[in-house]
Symmetry: C2
Subunit: 471 residues, 2 copies
């Protein structure tokens, strides 16, 4: 019997799917740029079944690709085209195991959809602070495996920062289980850190205990037009000072990104009468019912006007208007797809140098690809910008983008490196950025990554071909 | 030539000390319970010298013990009594390499004293949020190697949570260097996490980039008397709600701990007229000059009185009074030493079960050692309590404490484990808690720890005999 058949023969029939029509939806990545092949899709229902799968694979020498909601940008959850990797979806493991309001924590299985975790927290009067554009379909195990960032990192941190406990099936099928939702635990190495951001290459996360926060009772959302991009850092600083670090989101949009969006859909309309070359969506929130956040925000806005840092601005007067502001920000990726897709650069630098990066990178594009369209937006409060480049309307889009990737992208990444920045602030590596990692990894990092992989998964059966650069 | 002499012969004479009088101060731990022996103390002046030391040791098969400020509670930085380990103090590497107010970050060498980092941040109008009782002498490399907690974890997190970048000399003498102070970086495994909390067993941290916070413009400090310890969680919840999560410290003291302290020193006096069996030192702070924190705190205190949750309380009216409140909290360990020392239990459980733990552990002591004196205090806002037991005055102190350690401590730790808690919330393992780790480690953890140690330091030359339990 072939090794793959040996594995499948040991598993309950209900968790094995060989139907190519069903498999197809799982074997192509979210951006539809990578399609792999797999002989079977496995959908375990509990941790013990994940262990059975991994043990059987370890015994037969068969490789595995774990998958959550399949919303990643780097094809980390897409099988290779060898047709030799089994695909393991965690989607059936979607139970809430525990919610403890008095401890501000919950424990969820890896396949739980992020929005469902948010709802569970909300029902308990609390906040699950991780927020992502893909939250209706991404699953928490994938969020952890990619150390997802998103819309409120400024206040609450990355996915890693929310993890109190973790349960992981290791490459030999054994279990690491430490789900105690403790705020402090220095009892030995914090081994759970290994698996956060490892994109399934060191084991399969099956459950997690997460920190929750108190639910905001007041939220203020403002949309600001800015003339000089160099003012961003000053504006954020003033907002943090005035509100006492209550800023939850500080999102940047270039006017070009906004125009791209407005031309692609009828709603919402432009929120300001006087367009600026740059915009910020600023949101601050507090659990306090007594502190006056609205007055604080109004005073801040007035000061920003007076000092000439903001040329126009509006504070959302209703939940509907707040939602409209957010739609503007969150629909940019969709508008890029509508245009024909973009070449994405997920860069972070020091906040103090972000404007300088955007200006220098824009100059590179103006020089190397003057016809290209820039779509620049992102979580600038974290020093993170999505510096995306689109082909001009009417051009040979695939050809233009290939040419951008070959000639412009390396210059953008070299610029980021020169400024001590990163080529992957939040998207991860997957199969897409391994060469970039090989080129830009800091001293000693690749050797350490390989040593870890070798120590935990010496036969390279967990998500092979992902994250770790070629030999 | 002996291996140790081979190593020393390769090093600059200025960094080698063989004087036993000098060495003595480094070879005994902070609590004076462990004294080791070493043929020489090495005090490198820069990262390149650390690499020279580690390379020479790797070549000769000589073991190393790294040391920061020597303020740990678990003797992790104390050499064994084999006399075969070289002691490496990082104290001469105490430079500030970078401070970037616009990025809210700084880069410091590992030997910089925590208080000096705090001063540097303060001089730049910012806050270094890590605060420890030992901050006048502990060094940041040690704080990171033990993932120190301290007095404002509730708001700012543990040492780990403040780290943006790290530089580490690995066991083969090579360098891992990634000091870019980025808020977000998902470019491959986050390998720096390995070394945080590893107590020098996987390499020597030589520099770090740290997150800073905005400096508080308003601080409110209250000292509250509480009749029912079960109210602690409710009081913290109300304080967090009212202040919008601005609480920086929520520290518990039992009346017995306070009495121990007041009997040991003339100042400060008891801050309240009506003593309660329990006290909380609550501090909230904000960078905002406009939000009214004082009114918020007064309203909170009024509500706590009205609901009968607090029986007496005072808000510090001056910086002097605030300092006095803090002296009460921070002098307890010293009062315990003055009494003759204590048997310490550094436990954390879920915040929602902390009162239950304290009550059940107290019942164990009342049953097993009715003469013993309890000193219970700690960072209860994080679910962390220092449940310490003292011998009665006039008793055979060393004998009584040995008996407590043999008969009562295991019961306390078993209770913590039964409640999903930890036996080492913030102190670490060192050489003191290895057996506890062997007994209480969650499923799969020890195997992972051993795999990591084997992968990075296969010859066990980095701080041998620490953290990892015996085979």
């Amino acid at each position: 019997m072939q090794p793959i058949e040996q594995v499948l023969a040991q598993l309950p029939a209900e968790i094995v799917t060989r139907d190519p029509d069903i498999i197809a939806g799982y074997a192509t990545d979210f951006r539809r740029q990578h399609t792999g092949r797999t002989p079977a899709l496995l959908r375990p229902r509990d941790t013990a079944e994940v262990q059975r799968i991994v043990r059987a694979c370890a015994a037969a020498g068969v490789a595995l690709v774990p998958q959550g909601g399949n919303t990643g940008y780097c094809a980390a959850a897409t099988p290779s085209d060898s047709g030799q990797d089994l695909l393991v979806s965690l989607e059936r493991m979607n139970r809430l195991r525990d919610l403890d309001p008095g401890n501000l924590s919950l424990t969820a299985e890896a396949g739980m959809i992020l929005a469902e975790i948010q709802h569970a927290a909300d029902d308990a009067g609390l906040l699950m602070p991780l927020g992502l554009g893909s939250q209706q379909s991404c699953r928490i195990g994938g969020n952890l495996s990619t150390n997802a960032g998103g819309l409120s990192v400024l206040r609450y941190g990355m996915a890693r920062d929310l993890v109190l406990g973790l349960e992981v099936v290791l490459p030999d099928g054994s279990l690491f289980s430490d789900l105690s939702p403790l705020r402090k635990n220095n009892a030995g190495y914090d081994v759970k850190q290994l698996f956060l951001g490892a994109e399934g290459t060191l084991g399969i996360i099956t459950a997690v205990s997460l920190k929750l926060a108190r639910k905001p009772r007041q939220t203020v959302t403002a949309f600001l037009a800015i003339q000089d991009i160099a003012s961003l850092a000053t504006i954020l600083g003033m907002a943090q000072e005035q509100t006492g670090e209550m800023v939850t989101s500080f999102e940047y949009l270039s006017d070009r990104s906004l125009q791209l969006l407005l031309s692609a859909r009828p709603e919402p309309r432009h929120p300001l009468s006087a367009p600026g070359p740059h915009y910020v969506l600023l949101e601050a929130a507090t659990a306090s019912p007594v502190l006056n956040l609205e007055d604080t925000a109004s005073a801040l806005l007035e000061q920003l006007f007076e000092e000439g840092l903001v040329s126009d601005g509006a504070i959302a007067a209703s939940g509907q208007q707040r939602a409209a502001f957010w739609t503007l920000r969150e629909s940019i990726p969709e508008a890029e797809v509508h245009h024909g897709g973009s070449v994405k650069h997920d860069v972070a630098v020091r906040s103090s140098r972000l404007a300088e990066f955007i200006q220098a990178a824009s100059a590179i594009v103006a020089r190397e690809a003057p016809d290209a369209i820039l779509s620049v937006y992102g979580h600038v409060g974290d020093g993170n910008v999505h510096f995306n480049i689109l082909a001009p309307a009417g051009s040979d889009q695939p050809g233009f983008k290939r040419s951008l990737e070959a000639s412009v992208s390396p210059l953008i990444y070299d610029l980021a490196a020169l400024m001590e920045g990163t080529f992957s602030a939040e998207y991860g590596i997957g199969q897409v950025k391994r060469d970039l990692l090989a080129r830009h990894a800091p001293a000693g990092k690749l050797a350490l990554m390989r040593a870890l992989k070798q120590a935990l998964d010496p036969r390279d059966l967990m998500n092979p071909g992902k994250v770790i650069p070629h030999g």
